[in-house]
Assembly symmetry: C2
Homo-oligomer: 245 residues x 2
DNA sequence: TCATACTATTGATCTGAATCAATGCAATCC
DNA sequence: GGATTGCATTGATTCAGATCAATAGTATGA
């Protein structure tokens, strides 16, 4: 089992969460400043440098994480060291730490891929004391439903797609979420290493490399540096992701 | 693409849902009979014979299915005919039909494995008109969170376990949920065909057969008929599922 | 009870991705 | 700016599971 949980993120309680100034924050939208202020300690905030890790074991079952900015990796590690990256979370994404489980299952960690800020929110005190709590609950419920859909898409990908299709799907998804168009094409920064992409897609890092090279040779992507992908034609990549022969 | 969506389940509106007499029904628990009666049309009920299919496309995004009894299979089918069974749902389980999506993704179907009764619930009218709606919302939110955890476990299984481990994990899960102890061991009825188990685990039916035979030969299971599994020692199966060499 | 039609099992072979093993790059630190 | 170090890439080989092809069971209906 991985022992490199050295750099624990340092948690700084704050009430209300100073990170929830953004208009898109569901907590703020549901409760407003007044509601948030009524619940001291319900929201705390963490800043993490790239590579910092947080052991998600032992959080109360009403906890929700919200990524303010940066990128957070949610990973599951089994006792014998097998890893799976459940998701790469970006600005605005929510995540629910796993309820603790019996042995034989796996442990959950969160790791910052980039410098990342996140809020750790306790829902119970908020839903008890704040006005607008039902709106908040509805927002969270909707978010959780969307998370179920995402997970089901990922399951389909893992169960029924080839390595090539999986990587194409991953690049496409990340491009949509974090990329930006330039004159040369759609540009995407791959901040995580190949090994983590492999852990996300149920593959080995060597296979990621090989397929990247294929994509490069066939002109689907350009790869000036290992961490910079340029996609001249998103539609072409999409065709590969969805099973074009 | 599968065209055998011949036997559409026949939906019979009812208010309140006569199927929600059980104490475990979250709708009933949250609202009570009075609350349910206040929302005519919010809950309808379906009876399905084994093999009957329901196209889940086009349900409102506030819809929840609840299996009353029997077994329901939630499956995703891509345009080129690849299938994945996201889950086998049993009594008390909730399921959320996927929001409709752009082309290139997949369609969702529900199919009764056994004779099955389910409730189709519209949440919005209930949460508007009934007392106790926030309790209901909290119950649904909790259920959705649990569903996210389940999906993440399944993702780990698909991404990082061998075929043998996956099948052991599946048998174990189903045994816990639908099996029962006898003097010969834990007995489990496999109502679905091998092909559907394969679709759930991202494998081929032949591989399921081969591993079943291995398990049989090594004494992990007995298999009097293809649809009846007897597990003398759950712990032995569990060891295989969680990566014993 | 026997014929019919599926479904499961087994066998032979193939193949995509894993594994093992170098080699080539890029960022980081003196 | 040049070594150092950790990744990424490429190559050779292996192997788990898929695919193709029979054969054997099981359930259903006359």
């Amino acid at each position: 089992m991985d022992s490199a949980v050295s750099a624990q993120m340092n948690q700084t309680p704050a009430s209300p969460c100073s990170g929830c100034e953004e208009l898109t924050c569901p907590i703020r939208q549901a409760l407003g400043n007044a509601g948030l202020t009524a619940c001291p300690g319900a929201v705390s905030r963490i800043s993490a440098r790239a590579g910092e890790k947080l052991d998600a074991t032992g959080f109360a079952p009403d906890t929700v994480f919200r990524v303010v900015n940066g990128m957070l990796m949610q990973e599951h590690v089994s006792d014998d060291g097998r890893r799976h990256v459940a998701a790469f979370k970006t600005s605005g994404d929510l995540s629910w730490p796993l309820p603790s489980r019996e042995a034989g299952e796996f442990r959950e960690f969160y790791e910052a891929v980039n410098p990342t800020e996140l809020c750790i929110i306790s829902i119970d005190p908020i839903s008890r004391c704040a006005p607008g709590a039902d709106t908040l609950l509805k927002t969270l419920y909707t978010a959780a439903r969307i998370e179920v859909s995402r997970a089901q898409e990922q399951m389909f990908l893992l169960a029924r797609s080839s390595a090539t299709e999986r990587l194409a799907g991953f690049l496409l998804d990340l491009a949509k979420r974090t990329g930006h168009g330039t004159k040369r094409g759609f540009e995407l920064k791959l901040s995580m290493r190949r090994e983590r992409i492999a852990d996300h897609l149920g593959m080995q890092p060597e296979t990621i490399s090989r397929i990247m090279t294929q994509f490069k040779k066939s002109g689907i992507i350009r790869l000036p540096r290992p961490s910079l992908v340029i996609i001249p034609d998103l539609k072409a990549l999409s065709n590969i992701a969805f099973g074009a022969p």
